[in-house]
Symmetry: none
Subunit: 414 residues, 2 copies
């Protein structure tokens, strides 16, 4: 398999001012054509660290993709570094000049010495055109090794990766194809998932599996590396089936699918509507549901009933019920879910009431305790959870659990 | 100056499945205590590349921060790599065991062999506690070099960086003192801010300034590097005063203060309550307000009135008004704000109605158009915004603008 390294250059990355999204973009694109990224390196705008990174990467791999430091200002040192590294001088390039002139004209910008500087290309490099900016890209194609240098501005870099780098490299790739599939789970811890899957080698049979936990669930990423696309696809699907056979009920979606999207699709298919009554989640369930374009087709309304008075007035919960059981109770969670269903006319009501913390807990009702209620025409129920003592995370976990409860009820998963 | 490298481990990074946000978080934190990050490296879940990265980084720098690959499953190889690298064996750690047992208990999870595995720590390492997860962190403190190993789950890593790594390292930094102050602005673009500040050298006089834009506003980070804490502090404060003299009205807070926290403080001080009526923001304003512990003292209730029917039924808006002006209009935004104030009995009502997109726009009401309404006992008003064509960003920007409108009205800022 062809191997690649990505080098990103820029002081703004090293001080943490911006998150490096270029790396992920390039890596994903290389992966889709079967090139394996082995390492990513970030260095600052200084000659020696850049030269060291070039030398290390080139000695290890077939493909290097370098981004950043190609602009017109004093701190852009990448082109000089490249000239030193490949022992090449700079020559004026007429194709770049014509492009930059045309670009400046459309943007009503005058020609400056900085632009003159931009038209120079190392003699040993091939031009990688930059259709949307003035800084040209370069390719050094020597000894079956490919060294691309691109600007760091994300939308310029992306255009050049898509238009030139990927088409060029896909012709050079021989031999193997890689295929990924991610299964998204909710409501089960990483360790329990591993436990329920059992003998992992028997499930994988040569494929690879990564556990990717987050505060809203664990994702399982299956990877197969095979000779052909068909066999890679088949292998991934076989592993998927063996995993689903063991933990199907926890899997709500695949790849980039979010739980709110899955719930939305089911609601749409079943022609059902939903409304929310939130206390401790504070509106986060409604926020997530409405992140989906077209959610107005099934989401009618949501209420953040933070005060007891609003629970009574808006949802029609008997004051007596709150007095007897407390606002954080099974009874009130159920009454909230059925109450919001009644006032909104929605088919499904979902509710949360809990103690987000960090204060307000007691021995019998500790911080992190959350009741999640559900109501439809046949059922009314509430489930008890404890999500720990971080306020924001409790909101996120309770929201995920509420959406997951809706999904399981809609699909009749026990 | 003390130098650092950051090593992030994980196949999911190399295939571009997730963007590496850990690097930027760690780099920013190290920077604030005067440690310069010289290089960032990412490698996959394989022993030899990990060992190579360890050796390279340790030979070049004083501080290494490693994240990722510390979970309980087979693809988590970092602890083994660390044991090989430092020639250390694993010993069972009672502190970790007690912590994991307590954590599992609160989450109602049973003890599995995977958890047993998590309680082992390399003999030569110090424990870096993980207050929010089961995977412990480690520190190898040898020959004035500091090698930290942390889990890759962002919220666990962040907790450990803040609670242990930064306090530990700041005691080791010698010679010069660095002081940062971040001023947070809302409602003004980066370029306008730069323009209004004018001659930047005259404001800074030797200090440094970084513009940090995000979807909710531009932060201004002032940095002074001086011999003593007192002079660094004084320099930062002088720059702060010169900046405030020019753009005070846009500055809502400093350092980690979020706008919902600032608004909450003002409401508490003035003994006022608030309620929300959201359409396009879908509950995000209520979600942010309730992220603040103690918000139940001033936040009464919030309504996500997504359907026209719910706007009429819940908030008492005349059907006629929606018919005449459309749901996305100044009139409806104002009626929503005063309506929610009336039904809730809150002192202040705030509302949003707009077109979050990507569909649903028209020539006169394009995607991104949002009206934000405000109502108190003296005033009723609505402001018009256009937040662009990304659904989530529109929700975030509209939420920030709504909170900022409340802040300015409460403080009588025109």
């Amino acid at each position: 398999m062809m191997k690649a390294e990505i080098i990103t250059i820029g002081d703004e990355l090293l001080i943490g001012q911006i998150v490096n999204s270029n790396q992920a973009y390039i890596a994903e694109k290389l992966n889709t054509i079967g090139i394996s990224v082995e390492r990513m390196t970030t260095v600052g705008d200084e000659l020696n660290p850049v030269l060291a990174a070039f030398a290390e990467a080139r000695s290890r791999t077939d493909v290097c993709i370098v981004t950043g430091g190609l602009g017109p200002t004093h701190d852009d040192i990448t082109r000089d570094a490249v000239c030193t590294f490949f022992q090449s001088d700079l020559v004026s390039n007429l194709e770049i000049r014509a492009h930059v002139e045309a670009l400046l004209k459309t943007r009503n910008i005058g020609w400056t010495p900085a632009h003159e500087h931009q038209t120079l290309l190392p003699r040993k490099a091939k031009l990688v055109p930059n259709p949307v900016g003035t800084a040209p890209g370069m390719l050094f194609d020597q000894d079956d090794k490919y060294f691309f240098v691109l600007p760091g501005v994300p939308y310029e870099m992306k255009e050049m990766i898509d238009a030139t780098v990927i088409p060029y490299l896909s012709k050079k790739v021989k031999g193997s194809t890689i295929r990924h599939l991610t299964l998204r789970t909710s409501g089960i811890a990483e360790s329990s998932l591993a436990h329920q899957l059992g003998d992992i080698d028997d499930i994988l049979r040569g494929a690879r599996l990564a556990f990717l936990p987050s505060s809203t669930g664990v994702r399982l990423r299956i990877t197969a590396l095979e000779r052909t696309e068909a066999t890679a696809e088949a292998k991934v699907r076989q592993v998927e089936q063996r995993i689903r056979a063991k933990v199907q009920k926890y899997i709500y979606g695949a790849d980039e699918e979010e739980l709110e999207e899955v719930v939305g699709k089911i609601l749409k298919e079943k022609n059902l509507t939903i409304a929310t009554a939130e206390s401790c989640t504070g509106g986060l369930i409604a926020d997530r549901i409405t992140d989906i374009s077209g959610s107005s087709a099934y989401f009618l309304e949501g209420h953040t009933v933070y005060s007891d008075a609003s629970k009574v007035r808006i949802l029609g919960i008997p004051e007596e019920l709150i007095k007897t059981h407390g606002a954080v109770s099974k009874e009130v969670a159920e009454a909230m879910a059925s109450g919001v269903r009644a006032i909104s006319g929605a088919d499904i009501g979902v509710s949360t009431t809990g103690i987000a913390g960090p204060t307000g807990g007691s021995l019998t009702k500790p911080v992190g305790l959350v009741w999640i209620g559900y109501s439809d025409k046949d059922t009314m129920l509430a489930l008890k959870f404890n999500f720990g003592d971080n306020r924001r995370r409790t909101k996120e976990r309770a929201t995920q659990a509420a959406l997951e409860l809706v999904r399981r009820r809609l699909l009749r998963i026990e």
